[in-house]
Symmetry: C2
Subunit: 359 residues, 2 copies
């Protein structure tokens, strides 16, 4: 059942039927009603491909996903983001097209996407400092929104980001206020922009008090449970162990906790843990009451906002050229859990306390 069939059936021209179904004003109300009923009755749906070709709009948004050793899509943070974006697409009648491409072929992938015209816009995931994709997409004229930012890129671009620097500065201050001085930072992969900003916030809090973080307590890597566990075990066995950990993900925090358990240390007493919490659907930080003290910002909400923003940009193409692109900075909230507490005595003035007891 296609448009022509339906038109023949109704004794109307395809033009009129098309207009009736698409809400054009020049169709008589009686006709529109008749057409709509017939369409309903015969389960008529316009052919997507034909519609797309005729209108020149793909009605689809592309997500190009790094296909590295550690496929990005299996990253739960990514999955939650996609879930949020998907809600918006579904509501607006857009399709979400996921494309896994080795990270070195991304430029080519974007070019093809553009030339083949099978998406109306793309979301840029996991930007790095100085990320080249932004310039490329500018050049291609393909509408895009970046999830995060790219330090060092001075082109204007639309983005939705969490104020990572501020979140981690506050987190660090919170621990410094509790008397912690040896604070470990388990960060995301080096070069990722969000990791960079978090590190900056971390360092800024120290600097504001004339202190300096210990570089040997700062590591970067994939934010997995294993990362947290291994780092915790390693660092806590050192002569001068940290009294607190800041982790970039709940998964890492859980790993640190496992490390503590194995070493017989109590979380929140002997060692504090403060984590960033993306509010993942499948890995929550407790139910009502948080388990871990955390900087909290919903990545799913970020997904929703990125998608909305992009669809807005697509709907009003002139906006893109006229004014500066829209940007959104989400503030993380600091929620208190049971994983943090005052620094244990031994660490206040290191090597000065009388009782040199092991924990």
């Amino acid at each position: 059942m296609n448009l022509k069939d339906l038109a023949d059936l109704l004794g109307l021209s395809p033009t009129t039927v098309s207009r009736a179904l698409n809400g054009f004003p020049e169709v008589a109300e009686a006709t529109r009603k008749r057409v709509e009923e017939a369409a309903q009755l015969h389960h008529y749906r316009p052919n997507t491909q034909a519609k797309r070709l005729a209108t020149g709009r793909a009605m689809a948004i592309g997500h190009v996903i790094p296909l590295c050793s550690q496929h990005e899509i299996v990253n739960p943070v990514f999955a939650d983001f996609i879930a949020g974006a998907g809600e918006v697409y579904a509501r607006e009648g857009y399709d979400m097209v996921l494309i896994s491409v080795p990270v070195e072929d991304h430029a080519q992938a974007y070019r093809e996407l553009r030339a083949k015209r099978n998406v109306d816009g793309v979301i840029v995931h996991a930007p790095r400092a100085g990320d080249g994709r932004i310039a490329l997409l500018h050049e291609l004229g393909l509408p895009f929104v970046v999830h995060g930012r790219a330090s060092g890129v001075d082109l204007p671009y639309a983005y939705v980001d969490v104020n990572n620097a501020r979140a981690f500065e506050r987190a660090t201050n919170f621990l410094l206020d509790l008397g912690h001085r040896r604070i470990a930072l388990l960060n995301g992969v080096e070069g990722m922009d969000f990791a960079l900003r978090r590190q900056r916030g971390f360092a800024r809090a120290f600097a504001a008090r004339g202190l300096e973080p210990d570089p040997s307590l700062m590591i970067a890597g994939e934010m997995t449970e294993a990362q947290g566990h291994d780092a915790a075990c390693d660092m806590l066995r050192r002569a001068d162990p940290p009294t607190a950990f800041i982790t970039a993900s709940l998964l890492s925090a859980v790993g640190v906790r496992r490390g503590l358990w194995e070493l017989g240390l109590r979380m929140g007493r002997d060692v504090s843990i403060l984590t960033h919490d993306d509010e993942l659907g499948y890995f929550r930080n407790g139910a009502e009451e948080p388990i871990f003290t955390a900087t909290r910002a919903s990545v799913r909400e970020a997904g929703r906002r990125c998608a909305s923003l992009l669809l807005d940009m697509i709907a009003t193409p002139d906006m893109a050229t006229d004014m500066a692109p829209a940007t959104q900075l989400m503030e993380a909230v600091l929620v208190l859990g049971a994983s943090t507490g005052p620094a244990p005595d031994r660490s206040v003035p290191p090597m000065t306390t009388a009782q040199g007891l092991p924990l």
Copy 2:
């Protein structure tokens, strides 16, 4: 730059250019070469929508995802499956279209997908016993592959599944052999086919020895860390606690382990844990050596196989009608970790052992 432009540029007809680029034999080699070079030079890519309309193939596979309170896509198992399928699609030039729809609207979603013709086939996720989607897709004539099976559906259909019953039967036997009798089963959501089969395997192992599992030790639910933790805490505090847990997911197993730690019990000594392991990219069961004893089957591989199977079906449409649909049953391997050990004495003949010491 479209086909016509390119043809004009070359002084050829669109017909010849199209054929040259699509590898038809009736084009002179010299011409083909000339055309290919020009296409390369001018970055010509055929317009996706036009191609799809002309060929009647959408070159896209749909994944309709339940959008419940717990959005399925954020389930890491699902994400890994998608990653595997995505590899295959990328290789074959197919797009992957993710569509989030409230579970009660799935039927409508499939109908629309079919009528609008924007996918060539679909993957059915998370089948339930007696799942109605299979009959619907049959009726719609939309090619599909089920990830898993649907007990009680007697229509033929293509599927890729893990032999869940056998895997869990072996797992249960393994624990029974170690002397465990009070074994808890932390299963997936009730009604899910895979959960049903796992329960059947579990029960079968007991039955084969003339034993019966305790229903109060069998729970069903979302397979999260919290599920495992809460169930473990609850059950282990009872008068007659289990000596071993079988969990349907690594996440649940990790939750059980947390419960053990909190109660001061040693994993593999006081209480054994055996889990199913989907080999998730972001949540691994140890590195070289497994932490948990587990029935292991890669869900990512299942994704690859589902995708391949579906693309095969689409490539040879007659196959679908002629013979029985292809099916694949993957066997899980049982890998040994440090989370299992002999049942502690107290449980061999319950209430008979002399020393009634608390653990």
